[in-house]
Amino acid sequence: MIKLLINGKARALDVPDDMPLLYALRDILGLTGTKFGCGMALCGACTIHVDGQPVRSCVMPVSAAAGKRLTTIEAVGATPAGKRAQDAWLELQVAQCGYCQSGQIMAAAALLAHTPQPTDEEIDAAMSGNICRCGTYPRIRAAIKRAAGKP
């Protein structure tokens, strides 16, 4: 049994130690907001927060998360930065197909939590690991600035 703290709740999982968090979240816990995109930490669709840091859950074994505080897209709205990001995403109508947006919002929320007023370069650095095939990047950039209170 591996004990995890997910979205404020203690959960005990009977899964192999090396199972990446992504599959534990999606298949075992039913938290399907976190997405599978590449399985190699190349696309960012599976981004969650581990102790507040953005992590690619498709390559992080559950054992490495034991005892750590995990937040997924389903609960990130309870954090101030997550709420700001979600609100800005709505205001600027970022989502198209929406599949990557959980990961985008998680990456943006982590950026905003640590860097409340990010520059364009900081946005590039924080967000370039997250692929969007619908091409919503211009709106993601604008939404992060909106969430940061910039025009």
Partner: protein
Amino acid sequence: MSEFSRRDFVKVGAGGLALGFFLPRLASAAAPRSFAPNAFLRIDDRGQVTITVPRVEMGQGTYTSLPMLIAEELEVELATIALEHAPASDELYKDPALGEQITGGSLAIRGAFDRMRQAGAVARTMLITAAAAAWRVAPSACKAERGTVTSGKRTLSYGQLVGRAAALPVPADVALKPPADWKLIGTPARRLDAAIKGDGRAIYGIDVRVPGMKYAAVAACPVLGGTLASVDAKTALAIPGVRRVVQLDNAVAVIADNTWLARRGLQALVIRWDGGANAEFSTAKFAQDLEAASRKPGLVAQKIGDAPGALARAGTRIEAVYHLPFLAHAPMEPLNCTVELGPNGCDIWTGTQSPARARASSAKILGLPVERVRIHNQYLGGGFGRRLEIDYVEQAVRFAKQVTGPVKYVWSREEDIQQDIPRPAYVNRLSAALGADGMPIAWTHRMTGAAVMARFFPALVKDGIDLDAVDCAVDMPYAIPNVLVDYVRHEPPFQVGNWRGVGPTHNVVVVESFLDELAHAARKDPVAYRRALLGKSPRALAVLDLAAAKAGWGTPLPPRAGRGVSVQAAFGTFISQIAEVVVAADGTIKVTRVVCAVDCGRIVNPDTVRAQMEGGIVFALSALMWGKITFEHGRVVESNFHDYRVVRMDEAPPIEVHLITSSEAPGGIGEPGTAALGPAVLNAIFAATGKRLRALPIEAAR
């Protein structure tokens, strides 16, 4: 029905909605009385309006723009509407132009504009008739507004009227509101799916959870057209939680308690493939064959005047050959399909652009009547043409024939890229003659490549010519007196498919680049050159002028920077794009700005038009910069986003979209933004460097 699906189906408050994977109202024993005058909408006795959307939502905004059309005439608040994925039915949900239930061809609004408004207006008319009868007044004395009918001081809500309205005959045709009275059409509206796509609630095919479901990882023969020779499953089956290994003639699946175990099981298989006839196929060899094929005359797709004669007599003659690669779609959601085959038939949960095809083919595979196959469509995590194909559904259904209980079959990213049905490679040979004034007097264009429609939609092949393959190579907006366009069909030995922008995407890049070559040869400005040829295409001219003005065409740029232009008439929409690029000292190319002017006729949701232009441009840029699928020994070399590179945040240019107000018939918007970018960028690179790139992708050609 599971607790999960029931809970998740129920509509949430204003502005939000959730979609599950059943049709709960049909399944519920205590269904409320409701009024459903057609297959697109129903109103229950609480006044809840539910719209069954006939086109799928894969990002292009149909789940907002189509409800807007109904809500406009029905007189209800857009944000209060609940949405439902349409079940498979050509009869109820076909696209009028295609005659099939397909979401593609940038046709959704064009097919829905009148039909959805009629659907809403019929319901409104019947609700008014019902209220008028109840009050014994003339219908003309009643008014529908915000989900109610009023007459003087009397008001009845739609919910109160459903019983009476449902008893009335459905009128065949009713009057639509004049455009001057529109409250929704033409005004930016928030997407109805925006909230659930921002907090994890939106359910895609890959998210479907059915009670008792197992998870499968899949591998098909890496050589397209090859077969499975043998599988040793001993090690895989020894993994606790791995349940079954099932085989098809060309694929194998490992079924397990969760995705991770299924993936581990698949890795543990010892598989021997038989590549068959394609085992030595390579793109290098195919390129030679394609090139050779392009030297022979093709079937004439368009002939104006006598282009060969004019060329033979011409003083200035220009020739060029353009090469375009195979492309993968790589939607963010890898292909997947969940199937449960039981005594009551077959349930299929997936995201498909072609639900009726998926149902018909699955029924055939299973030997079931189509009525016993139920497609539960979901949000699509990108389509781009890949989910027009039903191969991943057929594969899952074939596996399901050997399995008891529901199983979710999920392709890895590698499988998604290597088992794609790629956009074909093309070779284009062009020549032109210029008159004394530098303007073209003759133009020939021979395009050589596969006929996607011969397999996918044979009605679009006329006299041997794939009308999509030559789209935008023929009927150019430019006035050129002698034109000859011919088409040589040359197929690779595997299926090729539709890719966002289809024919226009591979033809506009060629036509608009070559036109730039002519302008350069004539020593004329590319915008002025186009303007001079667009006298008979006022809408094309207008978008060109708008783009040029907004981009500041002609204003100075820094050294090693350049501006390029394109003009396009495709999918019933006119677009001009101007791209700016900067070429670094090491030759690295960065697109720094794109200006896009659009005339798509009547606009339903202006914000969606903008979003589709932005997205189409970024999608095009990925392919333009890096996109190519390479075959060696019959196998696709590229496998994931490290070697099938796509645009990332730091590479996405600022994009400015300018819309022209128009009362012309609506045009398509999902694809044209993609088709128009390529030549604008290639022409900008030429402007910056003097180097003309005639092969894609840019990073392989520069």
